[in-house]
């Protein structure tokens, strides 16, 4: 709406506070103590336990979380950016506690969901990309710059003013991912990003993941996608049953499925 239109001309009117915030954000990218740590994490929905006493340090650049339906892997993913805080234990991202510093954690950890339809929140592509940046109160010219860069980088330029509704499923997922990456998080968690995609779009997303400079954590059933990852965790009934390089963990997972 007005947002989108105001974005384009972008007369720079620097606000010192906002510029400071923007710089802080940029610094957030710098690879400081890049690590997510779970300490004795237990989580339950009401009296239904989902995760049991997990303690882990996630430091690798590419990490896969494998597990069947109901294994707790989606809950696990949501713990990593503070969308869910554990019923017991704690999760820390680069030293920030998800319970105490939820907002700061969400700035560091981007999250991409399975279904792009419920992630795209604004009617047109350009406005949607600007959404998270506006929520973060970045200055207008900074928003315009980042949105334009993202449109170009993810091949969405020709859709700029188009309703998201008219895009294909793959393009929508690309937009959803772009909407997260435009925030320049230090870590990105993907919850089954390829499940709803056809083969061609699946390849596109995998390609995109491969090129990301961030730490990437992917919850998936897509075993093929994770074979060149640095580490794979297998969850079953809320417990880690295998942990290691995909060459070891994936066969272990497949064997358990059998």
């Amino acid at each position: 709406m007005r947002a989108a239109r105001n974005l384009i001309p972008g007369t720079p009117r620097p606000n010192p506070l906002r510029t400071f915030r923007a710089q802080q954000n940029r610094n957030a990218k710098a690879p400081l103590p890049s690590m997510i740590e779970l300490r004795s994490v237990t989580h339950a929905y009401g009296d239904r336990p989902v995760l049991h006493d997990l303690s882990l340090r996630l430091t690798e650049r590419r990490i896969a979380i494998l597990g069947g339906n109901g294994s707790g892997k989606s809950t696990f993913a949501r713990l990593l950016n503070g969308l869910i805080v554990p019923t017991a234990g704690s999760v820390a991202v680069d030293g920030l506690d998800t319970r105490r510093d939820g907002r700061a954690v969400r700035q560091r950890v981007g999250f991409v969901f399975q279904n792009p339809d419920t992630q795209i929140v604004y009617p047109t592509v350009e406005e949607d990309l600007a959404f998270g940046l506006r929520a973060r109160r970045l200055p207008k010219d900074e928003i315009a710059r980042r949105v334009s860069a993202a449109l170009e980088r993810y091949g969405l330029d020709r859709y700029r003013h188009q309703p998201a509704h008219q895009m294909s499923g793959g393009e929508k997922q690309l937009l959803a991912i772009a909407g997260v990456l435009v925030l320049e998080p230090a870590h990105v968690v993907f919850d089954e990003p390829t499940t709803l995609l056809d083969l061609r779009n699946r390849r596109k997303v995998i390609e995109l993941l491969r090129g990301l400079p961030q730490t990437v954590i992917v919850v998936t059933h897509d075993l093929d996608m994770v074979k060149d990852f640095d580490r794979a965790l297998v969850l079953e009934d809320g417990r880690i049953v295998a942990d290691g390089p995909p060459a070891d963990a994936v066969p272990a997972y497949v064997a358990r499925l059998g």
Partner: protein, 211 residues
């Protein structure tokens, strides 16, 4: 989202939405205040003038007007037949509103949906002292526009599924799955908004939602 907007290169189209809405409000008050048929005549003339100035096709405008005019005419005929006396007053009332509906339709046809939405957002900002949060209203309007086509698809999809099962006329069977779908969508959408840093406690930048 084009809506009912009909693009033409005209001065009327270029007028800000606020001016057009303000003008409509003013004219409505004048028409309702003027005695007898004068109001209807004034509004009718104004409408014809705007129609020409906006370079709109009369046929299309009349089509937009068809359903209220047909209804008004039917009611009027009904009234005249039954009552016999005093039908002149009814005729004047009908003519007045027909003219006002023409004017209102012209505003809609010459104003982009987004311009109107922006106007509403500016009005919400004025209502801040009454506890209205303009940033939240703006976000909800945007979300609604985004999700209307999606829910249109859902309604069609669920109806198709019901038809396949032969329960087409059972509207209850339409609504339960639809509601369950909406409520799960609400969960996902809430998580997605918050994952992207949306914080409802944030009062939003002053003065408008997007500045």
């Amino acid at each position: 989202m084009l809506g009912l907007y009909l693009h033409r290169d005209s001065a009327i189209h270029r007028l800000p939405a606020g001016v057009k809405m303000g003008g409509l409000l003013l004219l409505t008050l004048v028409v309702l205040a003027l005695p007898g048929g004068w109001g209807a005549l004034a509004a009718g003339l104004a409408g014809a003038g705007v129609l020409v100035a906006a370079k709109l096709p009369a046929g299309r405008v009349l089509r937009e007007l068809r359903s209220p005019v047909v209804m008004l005419t039917l009611l009027f005929g009904f009234q005249a037949l039954l009552a016999g006396t005093g039908w002149e007053d009814t005729a004047i009332a009908v003519a007045r509103f027909a003219a006002l509906i023409l004017l209102a339709t012209l505003v809609t046809l010459t104003t982009r949906v987004m311009d109107m939405v922006e106007l509403f957002e500016r009005l919400f900002a004025r209502l801040r002292p009454l506890g209205v949060n303009p940033a939240k209203m703006a976000l909800m309007l945007a979300l609604t526009i985004r999700f209307i086509p999606l829910l249109g698809d859902q309604v069609r999809e669920v109806r198709m599924a019901q038809r396949a099962r032969g329960v087409e006329r059972n509207i209850a069977a339409l609504f339960v799955p639809l509601l369950v779908k909406i409520l799960t969508m609400a969960d996902d959408l809430t998580a997605a908004l918050e994952a992207r840093g949306y914080d409802p406690a944030d009062p939003g930048p002053e003065p408008g939602p997007h500045r």
